[in-house]
Symmetry: C2
Subunit: 225 residues, 2 copies
DNA sequence: TCAAAAGTGTTATAATTACACCCATGG
DNA sequence: CCATGGGTGTAATTATAACACTTTTGA
């Protein structure tokens, strides 16, 4: 074996699929590139890994820059290795996905991009690099994960109603779910707590406000699609 | 952003958790290191990624060298990024796990290692680097995957009996499974085909020989543990 | 003919699905 | 007082879990 570090190493980047949910819309955050390659094309936000960074540090750096946000839900998705995936040279990308509440963030293009914007997941432009494929894999993972693990709460306000949670699931899974059965499964899982408060302001009956039970880490549930 | 490739890049390695199943034993392949760091300690086989390689190419190279084997089941597990995980310097490891039939491979230590050997998963030595953690994650993934996807067949001969498949599941999941319910679920999934042949040689009733239905890719099943 | 392992089916229980009525609210 | 949406329960169906007897084999 050659001595350590005599190997030439590929560049190592982190790319982020940032999901946001707002007004019954699941969206993803995209940047419009200012420079070649893929100039003026939309891509996922990302950055090269700096020597002292963990992947999550790089994610946080990107999220802070683009969203002015820290402390978001992050999960490693997959590492992408096609040799020609970046025309500038061999680059490995470790993809993460993030779940954020768009109401709490202020997106800003920064110096690197022409523009930054939320896109409804059903109305995405063709992305640069292999980012279409990364996005599809992230969506698949999110859809799978939300059926057995409480990640949905990351996309909502601290207090939310049962119909809001129900709509979130229907939107992400792109299906209809019986609201009575949904309520029962979610409540049985004990992942949410009824605060006793109610959402005021609507003309109709005021729905109960729930909060996420952050202490509970071991329970599991199954929302069938 | 700095010009491309002006970044210093971490080293990029691929590590492999090679599972083998034989005589009602689930084992993992380990190497005994000839050189520092972790000289004389057992570790997972791995290699640094060469510039033109995909991850799977690196996996194949390692498997060919250590096992004289190609064409094994490989799946990406996770990428490990702790800054101090390799004392020689910053190294990212992309972990894969492989499923092989030990009967078909001939393991050989090669010039890099003192020794190479199968270890029963319940009798592993403490591994070098962060390989204990990689192994644990691989075992967890295998256990999860085998309950809903037909990966078990990769560990058996082309022809196998229902009791053999049943034992494999019990061994991997470290539990008992009712053999009548197991048989029904596996057969309902249509992932295996009764060849009409029987395993001869035992003193007792000769069990039917099945083969894996490779054409079927979409079905799913659920073995509950 | 016997011990050991393989093949098979049925019943009880639990989980899921389908479905309808009452309640609270503001206009 | 009414239209709208939110809250709740039950019956039918389906899936899972528990369980025992019969068959084949070579010694």
């Amino acid at each position: 074996m050659k001595p350590f570090h005599s190997y030439q190493n590929p560049s190592l980047a982190v790319d982020l699929v940032v999901f946001g949910y707002s007004k019954q819309n699941l969206s993803v955050l995209l940047l419009n590139r200012k420079e070649a390659p893929f100039k003026d094309r939309w891509v996922l936000p990302g950055a090269f890994l700096q020597m002292e960074e963990r992947f999550k540090d790089t994610c946080s750096r990107v999220l802070k820059t683009k969203l002015g946000m820290d402390d978001v839900y992050l999960e490693q998705l997959y590492s992408f290795d096609e040799p020609d995936r970046d025309p500038r040279g061999r680059t490995i990308s470790v993809a993460y996905y993030a779940l954020v509440n768009p109401a709490r963030v202020a997106i800003a293009a920064g110096s690197m991009a022409n523009d930054v914007s939320w896109f409804n997941i059903n109305e995405l432009p063709a992305l640069g690099f292999d980012h279409d494929s990364i996005f599809q894999q992230a969506l698949q993972r999110l859809r799978s994960k939300i059926t057995y693990f409480p990640v949905g709460f990351e996309l909502l306000d601290d207090l939310f109603t049962m119909p809001e949670l129900h709509e979130l699931y229907e939107c992400i899974l792109d299906t209809t779910i019986d609201r009575r059965n949904f309520r029962r499964k979610i409540l049985d899982s004990e992942y949410i707590i009824n605060t006793g408060k109610k959402r005021e302001g609507s003309q109709n009956r005021h729905p109960d406000l729930y909060k996420f039970n952050k202490k509970l880490k071991q329970n599991s549930f199954q929302i069938n699609i």
